[in-house]
């Protein structure tokens, strides 16, 4: 057992437990906080994989911006757990069974593969912002520009959907 493997196992346990906590919490705020923990663990995985820029982006964009937006909406809509209503019969069991099938399928497929390689120890300067930026603004310039249009559309959409109607509107 190398140090990296031990570190991987500890972090993987935290990631899976926090994901399960997100799934099983009754309170939406707890779910959001478990998800933040999960994102932070995945950011550490990115560091182990030699992607420091992506790791920092993960923390700022996911754990920072997106989850704060989630928490705002949870607070806005009321953090009370939903009342237990009528549910579709056997829906939970069927869903759990299907998820189990998906998990077994994935794990069998992965374990049937020959190992595709080992993660190399990250070298100095691998995946740093300079290299990412150079590739982003040369080979991936068009997707980058399309991304800006996508963000603009999302912004306009969010404002239009939540804005108050002037008159004649129902809400």
């Amino acid at each position: 057992m190398t140090v990296e493997l031990i570190l991987f196992l500890i972090l993987a346990t935290v990631a899976v437990i926090s994901a399960l906590g997100m799934l099983l919490s009754r309170n939406a705020v707890y779910s959001a906080l478990f998800l933040v923990l999960n994102f932070a663990t995945v950011a550490v995985f990115y560091l182990l994989l030699g992607a420091p820029f992506i790791a920092i982006t993960q923390v700022t964009v996911y754990a920072g911006a997106i989850m704060v937006l989630f928490l705002f909406v949870i607070m806005l809509l009321g953090a009370d757990p939903l009342p237990e209503g009528k549910e579709l019969p056997k829906q939970k069991w069927l869903a759990s069974f299907l998820a189990l099938v998906l998990a077994v399928e994935g794990i069998v497929l992965i374990s049937m593969q020959k190992t595709a390689g080992f993660i190399p120890t990250p070298v100095e300067g691998a995946g740093n912002p300079k290299a990412i930026g150079e590739l982003l603004f040369s080979g991936y310039l068009l997707p980058f520009e399309v991304t800006s249009v996508l963000l603009l559309v999302a912004m306009v959409g969010a404002i239009v959907l939540t804005g108050k109607k002037k008159k004649g509107g129902q809400s």
Binding site: A12, M22, L35, F45, L69, G85, I110, A154, L161
Partner: protein, 102 residues
């Protein structure tokens, strides 16, 4: 010195994806369904970065960057939709959102 096999990372990614899919199927709260979708996107990102690291290519990391952008846009629009639905139906239980008419 050999590091961790990439299969471990892909296995973890598959487990996280399955938990996310289970969350979408089981939970009734629209916000938690959205969080599960984020978890699935994150699992895909982890697989991308693991393969990028094994093959020593930066393109995988660029793709993760784009996926994060799409996720941010998706969350902005999705949460706006949830707020709009809550205004008209006073509930974010997906079982109660079953008519197209607002």
């Amino acid at each position: 010195m050999e590091g961790v096999s990439v299969n471990y990372y892909i296995g973890l990614s598959a487990i996280l994806f399955t938990i996310g899919a289970l969350g979408v199927l089981v939970r009734r709260n629209a916000l938690i369904i959205f969080m599960s979708i984020e978890l699935m996107l994150n699992a895909a990102n982890l697989a991308f970065v693991a393969f990028a690291s094994v093959h020593d290519l930066l393109s995988g990391q660029i793709f993760v960057f784009f996926i994060m952008t799409v996720a941010a846009a998706e969350v902005a629009v999705g949460l706006a939709l949830i707020v709009a639905i809550f205004r008209s139906k006073k509930s974010i239980n997906v079982d109660e959102i079953n008519v197209l008419k607002g």
